[in-house]
Each structure stands twice: as structure tokens, then as C-alpha cells.
């Protein structure tokens, strides 16, 4: 047996499983999106692109799209800024650095659902610790303005550790001599940060952006558990809308159409970032 044939046997099981559980359903969901299918009534009829045409007139879809964009842009931006600040802070040498890193990882390790329940309790209007500490009485999850921002804040808390870990790894690769040389040449802290740290960190920042943007765009459990999409659909994201159409109204045709749209958007985002990444590497 030639080596190449042997090699195939090592990768085959994974590829077969990946194809059956991801590629096949993906083709299936495209097919479903062209159908009118109601699970309870056993209705299943091919209707071409009617679902997609309906989508273009569906205000609730555009509302969900807008919410998803707002959530993604806000949370990813804040996570990156806060993550960068924390990474710079804990990258110095100090006692109990290991302990501190473990503490920073805690929000990342907590199950998203637990985190959502936790924050729901913190945001509670009457007995929540947040209102108590701030000395106010804001209905965080009940007001259209605050609810989506409360969701953003929770997501920032939960996922900044991931950003910190990746950025710290990126910072450690930067040679210490570089800082010293710059200081000798009379560069200030801000100069060192903008002219040395940021440019060298750029590839890592892009990787962070890829992962975080994709995760934020397909957000489901965090917001679904925190607000259920309310009040008045102001926190309903694309994934939540698709889930509700699929499993609460059991419209598998239109729900699948929404799912396909989420898929196409994340595909577009990935291609955009990967292009930027490969361009950056070549420079």
C-alpha cells in the first residue's frame, strides 16, 4: 500500500462525519428554503423562490437584521478595545500573574446560558444589584433602548477573556528589544503603542475580529435566554427570529430561508476577513 493511500484512511472518518452532519444538512436546508413546509400539518410543497421574495417584504426580518448588525458592531468594537486594554495591563510582570490569568478566563468558561441567567438577575429592576449599586431604578431589560445595550454589555463581559488571551499571545511574540530600542531613540509610551505594538499586533487583531464577528453575528443563546428577543422584538437577532419561525411556529420552509440568509452573511464576513488577512500577510 502506498503512503498516500494509508494517509487517506486517517482523514477519512472525520471527513465522512463532517460531510454527513454539516454538508448534507446544508444542501437540505437550501432545499427546505424553497419549500412551503409546515411540520404540524404535514404540508410540504415546492414554491421556488417565494420564501425569498416574502423575506424582502418582511419588516420583522429587517428589524432582526438591524439588531444583529448593531449587536455585532457594538460588542465586537467594545470587546476589542477592552480586551486590548486588559491584555496590555496583565502583560507586565507581576506577582500572581498566573492566578490573574485564570480569573480573567472565568467569564469565558461559564456556560452562556448561566451567564444570561446571572445577568438577568443582575439587571432585575426591583431587586437587581446593578440598580442598587447605581442608585437608580431602570428597567434594563424592559425598555427598548436599554435591552439591546444590556445584551451587548453582557456579551462584552462574557467574551472579552477570549480576546485578551489571543492578544496576550500576540504581545508575547513582540521582541522585548524592540521596546528598549524605541525607548532609547526617545519614543514615548503612546508612540511605542501606535507605531510598534499595534502594527505588529495587526494579524492577531484580524484573527480576533474574524472569530468574534462570526460569533456575534450568529448570537443565539445569550440573548434568547436573557430577553427572549423582547421587548417588542427590539433584541430579536436573525438567529432568534429564525429559531422562532422554525420551532415555535413550525414553518420549516420560511425558517430555513432565514437560516440560509444567516449562513450567507457569515460566509460573506469570513471571505471579507480572510481576504484582508491574506493581503496583510503579503505586505
Amino acid at each position: 500500500m502506498r503512503d498516500e493511500e494509508r494517509g487517506r484512511w486517517f482523514v477519512m472518518p472525520s471527513l465522512v462525519l463532517l460531510s454527513i452532519v454539516t454538508i448534507y444538512p446544508l444542501i437540505y436546508v437550501l432545499y427546505l428554503s424553497l419549500q412551503r413546509r409546515l411540520l404540524i400539518f404535514d404540508v410540504s410543497r415546492f414554491i421556488g423562490i417565494d420564501n425569498y421574495l416574502f423575506l424582502l417584504k418582511d419588516d420583522r426580518f429587517f428589524n432582526a437584521f438591524k439588531n444583529t448588525l448593531y449587536f455585532t458592531i457594538m460588542s465586537v468594537t467594545l470587546e476589542l478595545l477592552l480586551g486590548l486594554a486588559i491584555a496590555l495591563l496583565i502583560n507586565r510582570s507581576f506577582r500572581m500573574k498566573g492566578l490573574m490569568r485564570a480569573i480573567v478566563l472565568i467569564p469565558w468558561a461559564i456556560p452562556t446560558v448561566v451567564s444570561a441567567k446571572m445577568w438577568e438577575w443582575i439587571y432585575n429592576t426591583d431587586f437587581g444589584i446593578l440598580n442598587y449599586l447605581l442608585g437608580v431604578k431602570i428597567n434594563w431589560l424592559g425598555s427598548p433602548f436599554w435591552a439591546i445595550n444590556a445584551a451587548v454589555f453582557m456579551d462584552v463581559w462574557k467574551t472579552t477573556p477570549f480576546v485578551v488571551i489571543l492578544l496576550t499571545a500576540g504581545l508575547q511574540v513582540i521582541p522585548k528589544d524592540l521596546y528598549q530600542a524605541a525607548r532609547v531613540d526617545g519614543a514615548g509610551r503612546w508612540d511605542i503603542f501606535t507605531r510598534i505594538v499595534l502594527p505588529l499586533l495587526k494579524p492577531v487583531i484580524l484573527v480576533v475580529l474574524i472569530f468574534r464577528t462570526l460569533d456575534a453575528f450568529r448570537v443565539f443563546d445569550a440573548i434568547y435566554v436573557l430577553t427572549g428577543g423582547g421587548p417588542a422584538n427590539t433584541t430579536e437577532t436573525l438567529s432568534i427570529y429564525a429559531y422562532k419561525v422554525l420551532f415555535q411556529t413550525l414553518q420549516f420552509g420560511y425558517g430555513s430561508t432565514l437560516a440560509v440568509v444567516v449562513f450567507l452573511c457569515t460566509g460573506g464576513i469570513s471571505i471579507f476577513y480572510i481576504r484582508m488577512l491574506s493581503r496583510g500577510v503579503r505586505l
Binding site: 452532519v21 496583565i90 456556560p111 451567564s115 432585575n124 499571545a169 500576540g170
Partner: protein, 270 residues
């Protein structure tokens, strides 16, 4: 002075990261009558009632057991399949290597919502709804990209000469794999195992759609759908949250280095 400011920031950071969980812990110790009173922040008469109630009045133990079975099986399967594939990609000659890696990476970018409706129909048709098996297969698949990606990076760091020397000495590729490569890549395998375990312990969307009864309900679904008689049982939820988070906190404190290694190997070097 500067040093003091630095440590002040560090303490603030530690509070920010742990605060919400601490509050949940404090809440879990409060009797129901104290939940609706603030101040005081700390419970006046701390009680274990909430902890007792989630294990007696509620099939919480069963739910934890389900999650443990699913997470352990997923981790095992994902590591077996993933390490075989990663070894093949890192050390053997295979056609279309770049294409395969690209395919694996693109699967990791799939939004779960895009495949949940067809998977639901397939699982229902196969009679696997409300079984742990359905969750294990799905989680194994969706964690495979992570396993393959991280482990490929770890296997690549093992010098090719070791592989070639073992081959010359008469080992088959499979023998090289499990007698030499696996032990050498043990730290990487361990790091991957923790990441996959945490992923399966925490997953919500598939668990919510594929399960309908306590028979196969996992922790995230159990907590999201915590039954309350009249109002939301915040004390019980707090106690349950603390119980299911403890294993994760232990993992984080014990294996902080490995987790960071795994996370960075999975994203940066790739």
C-alpha cells in the same frame, strides 16, 4: 505610586471578572424572603435550602449526569477522530491537503442555526429525538474542526525525523501514530480535550431543539427552562448556576496554561 495604581486596576479587573458569579453565589445562599430585599447585600441568615431544593424537588442530578455523559463521550470521540485526521494532515502525504484544511476551517464558521432545521428533521426521522446519542454525534461533528485544527498544529511541531526514523525501523504509520506521536502530543491532546469538553458542556441551541424531556435534557437547557410555580425561582437558579459552574472553575484554575495554549494554537498559529 504607579505600582499602587497598577494593583488597583488589577483588583478592579478581578472584581469585574468574578463579580457577577460572586453575586450569584451570594444569591444562592439567601432564603426566599431575603431575595426581594436589598440592602443588605449579604444574606442575614445564610441557608443551603436552594441547593437542597434543586436536588430534591427537581431532576437536577439526572440533568447533570446527562451533560456529563454527553460531554465525556463527545470529548472521547472528537479526540479519536480528530487526532487521526490531524496526524494524517500533519505527517502523511495526502492529496488536496490545503483543500481539506480549508473545508475543516469553513465548517467551524457554520452558524449552527443554518443546520438545525434539517438536522432536526433527520434526527426525528431516525427516531433519535430526545436521545443523548443525537447530541453526541452532533457535538462530535461540530467540535471536530477545533480538534483537527489544534492537533494538526501540535503534530506539526513534532519533527518529521521522528516519524521517518520510526518508519525505517519498521513501524506502520498507525503504529507510529499511537506508539510515538500520541504520547509526544499529549499536552496538545489534553488542551484540546478541555476545550471540547467545555464546548459540549455549554452548548444550548442543539440541546434545546433535539431534547424534549428530562431523559436527555442537558444543563444549559435545564437552567434556561427552570420551572417555577408562580415566579422565577431566582434562588434555585443561582444555586444551580453555582453547581454547574464549579467544575468549569476547577478546570480553569487547574489547567489555565493548557487552555490558553489550546485557544492560541487553534486560532493564531493556524
Amino acid at each position: 505610586m504607579k505600582r499602587a495604581l497598577f494593583y488597583l486596576l488589577i483588583i478592579l479587573l478581578a472584581l469585574y471578572c468574578t463579580g457577577p458569579l460572586l453575586w450569584q453565589f451570594i444569591t444562592s445562599l439567601k432564603p426566599d424572603t431575603e431575595l426581594t430585599k436589598l440592602p443588605p447585600i449579604l444574606p442575614k441568615s445564610p441557608t443551603m435550602d436552594n441547593y437542597i431544593s434543586i436536588f430534591t424537588g427537581h431532576p437536577f442530578l439526572r440533568i447533570i449526569l446527562n451533560s456529563a455523559i454527553v460531554a465525556a463521550s463527545t470529548t472521547t470521540l472528537s479526540l479519536i477522530l480528530g487526532s487521526l485526521c490531524a496526524f494524517g494532515l500533519a505527517k502523511l502525504r495526502i492529496g488536496y491537503k490545503g483543500l481539506i484544511l480549508g473545508f475543516v476551517l469553513s465548517v467551524s464558521m457554520f452558524p449552527p442555526i443554518a443546520t438545525v432545521s434539517p438536522l432536526y428533521i433527520i434526527i426525528r426521522a431516525l427516531g433519535l429525538r430526545d436521545t443523548l446519542f443525537a447530541l453526541i454525534i452532533t457535538y462530535t461533528t461540530f467540535s471536530l474542526p477545533l480538534s483537527i485544527w489544534v492537533l494538526t498544529n501540535f503534530f506539526r511541531e513534532i519533527p518529521d525525523e521522528i516519524y521517518l526514523a520510526a518508519r525505517v525501523d519498521g513501524c506502520t504509520p498507525f503504529q507510529v501514530f499511537y506508539k510515538i506521536m500520541l504520547p509526544l502530543a499529549a499536552p496538545g491532546i489534553f488542551a484540546t480535550a478541555i476545550l471540547v469538553f467545555i464546548f459540549s458542556w455549554n452548548e444550548f441551541l442543539f440541546a434545546l431543539t433535539f431534547t424534549s424531556t428530562v431523559a436527555s435534557r442537558t444543563i444549559p437547557v435545564g437552567i434556561a427552562l427552570f420551572p417555577g410555580l408562580h415566579e422565577v425561582p431566582w434562588g434555585d437558579i443561582a444555586a444551580a448556576s453555582v453547581v454547574v459552574t464549579i467544575p468549569l472553575i476547577i478546570l480553569v484554575f487547574a489547567f489555565q496554561k493548557r487552555i490558553i495554549e489550546g485557544l492560541t494554537a487553534g486560532s493564531i498559529r493556524g
